[in-house]
């Protein structure tokens, strides 16, 4: 039974900690970013934990060296810095190198979307899904709650290859009963099946999509909701089957819209089907210096449940 809410990072790191007891190949690197669970990792496994300091480029390079020698590495940092400060290190040493030499490096970034709301644009991750999806050989994973973050942790430690995992910075309500309900290899989970419109969301926006679906249901509209937690490697034909009967699909992401993130992912997946409309919702292509509450900022950009429901109605009227 899942708790009412949890931090993704705590669940993810608890899985890593449990595995460190039994798997001597597991090595944890942090770029001076912590958590209570990580304190235990550092205390109990000092020979397999290094804080590399505020040095994300070196984080990735050291992770690569360890992985080439057979270690399974978790590289942990704040999401925008992990995905952008060291992008070329990721491209060269993980994207390119992993194509010819097996390595298992799991980049775990905390601070999805606007979750570090009051910290401003430097600390918000609105480009990460797009730029990570661009890299061949790098899997992109974006859980929506603690249980799915835990399932993704288990998947990462079991499966070779470089991965980018985008975790929320705030505690979120639980959606999945347990991690067992999350089929990571499938890449998505169908929360609701409808007939009129389907809302496909990732991360925190899955919560908002479910609220929007409730609003629409009260109006006797039949709405589907899909949690897309894998944005580069997913079962495309199964996704296509799930979404195939909807005339309209609306993608919802806490990232810049039309830049290669979830919307592009769905366009790829559904590209072969004629006549289906994909509407993309996300943040406009500009940085915000507004200090304040995440939900308020999302509502401002049309990403609250009321706006999303309105968009769905508008699509259905066409």
């Amino acid at each position: 039974m899942a708790p009412a809410s949890s931090r993704m990072r705590d669940v993810f790191l608890a899985s890593v900690l449990a595995r460190m007891k039994t798997d001597r190949r597991l090595f944890f690197l942090s770029a001076d970013f912590g958590s209570p669970v990580l304190d235990v990792v550092a205390r109990d496994y000092p020979d397999r934990f290094i804080n590399v300091g505020i040095a994300e480029q070196n984080l990735i390079n050291v992770a690569t060296g360890l992985a080439l020698e057979g270690f399974v590495v978790v590289a942990y940092a704040i999401a925008p810095f992990l995905s952008m400060r060291c992008y070329e290190q990721i491209r060269v040493n993980l994207g390119i190198l992993s194509q010819v030499r097996p390595l298992n490096v799991n980049m775990v970034g905390v601070g999805a979307g606007l979750s570090y709301d009051v910290s401003g644009p430097t600390h918000q991750a609105l480009e990460d899904l797009s730029i990570m999806r661009t890299l061949p050989n790098v899997e992109v994973l974006s859980p929506a709650d603690g249980a799915s973050a835990g399932a993704i942790a288990e998947y990462c430690l079991e499966h070779s290859g470089p991965k980018y995992v985008r975790l929320d910075g705030k505690p979120l309500a639980s959606l999945y009963e347990t991690g067992a309900a999350v089929n990571v290899e499938m890449g998505f989970h169908e929360w609701r099946r409808g007939t009129d419109v389907c809302l496909v969301a990732t991360g925190y926006m899955v919560h908002t999509a479910l609220k929007a679906a409730q609003i629409l249901e009260a109006e006797n509209l039949s709405v589907g909701v899909v949690d897309m937690f894998a944005l580069s490697k997913y079962k495309a034909s199964e996704l296509s089957d799930v979404l195939g009967h909807y005339q309209t699909v609306i993608t919802i992401e806490e990232g810049f819209v039309g830049k290669g993130g979830l919307d592009a992912c769905l366009n790829e997946a559904l590209g072969a089907r004629g006549g289906q409309r994909v509407h993309a919702l996300g943040l406009p292509s500009r940085y915000s210096f507004r200090v304040g509450d995440r939900d308020e900022m999302l509502r401002d950009s049309g990403l609250g449940e009321v706006s999303i429901a309105a968009k769905a109605r508008e699509c259905l009227r066409r």
């Binding site: 480029q57 390079n61 050291v62 992770a63 690569t64 060296g65 080439l68 070329e88 060269v92 040493n93």
Partner: protein
């Protein structure tokens, strides 16, 4: 200082190999003018001492042999001289040298890890030292006695990621890590001192906790002795060998040209160099 293990015979063998590698590197460049020849001529003696001097553990029949020493050529494009060495040692057929940069050859203008004997992706500068740090930590955790060598150019030291790695290695006292600086003092567009003066190197490395040695990078006895000292057990510090070298060594037109990095030699000049008694012989 001459190392006690470097006999006259061994010295002569290393010199002969270095001369042969120099000639083969020019021959490759004659067939494949896309290769960076000037920066591939400066590190020859260091690589020859490592591979032929008994200072590096390797197995050409098993390039990923667990008990090998790791060598990362971070200044990838300046290592075309590795191709004849690796072919000579049996990593791949000598005939492959005829096909460098040709369609479907695995030997490109910048070496990739599809080449037996290469560990990582090279040529995008500044990555090797950090990856070498990760390998050095890993070997320590695995209780391995093997070393990690990483070759960089002095121009490459402009990259900030290199200094993140230098700081890391010093902090973690990675005494199984040896950085080789091919300090030919030229970047792509001229003299390093004028573009971005990273010199002097010794006090910078020392400040970060490294054991520092400086040699004439073309003086085989000196290079051999310094490499042997780097590889020996000693203080719990990473080691750096700063090899003062000449970019385009043995090719007068390259040696005097600040832009030699991007220069291509003509067929006639190469023929005269190879046949005319020019060369790096000391």
């Amino acid at each position: 200082m001459v190392h006690p293990n470097l006999s006259t015979e061994k010295h002569l063998l290393l010199r002969k190999k270095a001369d042969w590698v120099w000639t083969e590197t020019l021959r490759i460049h004659a067939r494949s003018p896309e290769t960076r020849v000037a920066s591939s001529l400066s590190p020859i003696e260091m690589l020859v001492c490592l591979y032929y001097g008994g200072l590096l553990a390797f197995d050409p029949r098993n390039p990923r042999w667990e008990a090998r020493d790791r060598l990362i050529i971070s200044k990838g494009h300046g290592s075309i001289c590795m191709y004849p060495i690796l072919a000579d040692l049996g990593y791949f057929a000598m005939s492959e040298l005829e096909r460098v940069c040709k369609l479907d050859s695995f030997l490109g203008g910048i070496p990739d890890p599809v080449i037996p004997g290469y560990e990582t992706v090279n040529g995008s500068l500044g990555h090797g030292p950090g990856v070498a740090c990760g390998m050095a930590v890993a070997l320590k955790r695995k209780q391995s006695r093997n070393k990690v060598f990483v070759m960089v150019g002095d121009g490459e030291l402009d990259e900030g990621a290199v200094w993140e790695a230098i700081m890391f290695a010093g902090h973690h006292r990675l005494d199984n890590l040896v950085m080789l600086v091919d300090s030919n003092a030229k970047c792509m567009l001229g003299h390093s001192r004028e573009i971005m003066n990273v010199f002097p190197l010794e006090p910078k490395f020392e400040a970060f906790g490294w054991l520092t040695m400086t040699v004439d990078g073309h003086d085989i006895p000196a290079v051999y002795a310094a490499l042997a000292e780097c590889a020996a057990s000693g203080p719990a510090q990473p080691r750096v060998l700063i090899a003062n070298t000449v970019k385009g060594r043995g090719v007068p037109s390259l040696e005097r040209d600040p832009l030699c990095h991007i220069r291509t030699l003509g067929q006639q000049e190469i023929a005269e160099l190879i046949g005319g008694g020019c060369g790096p012989r000391v």
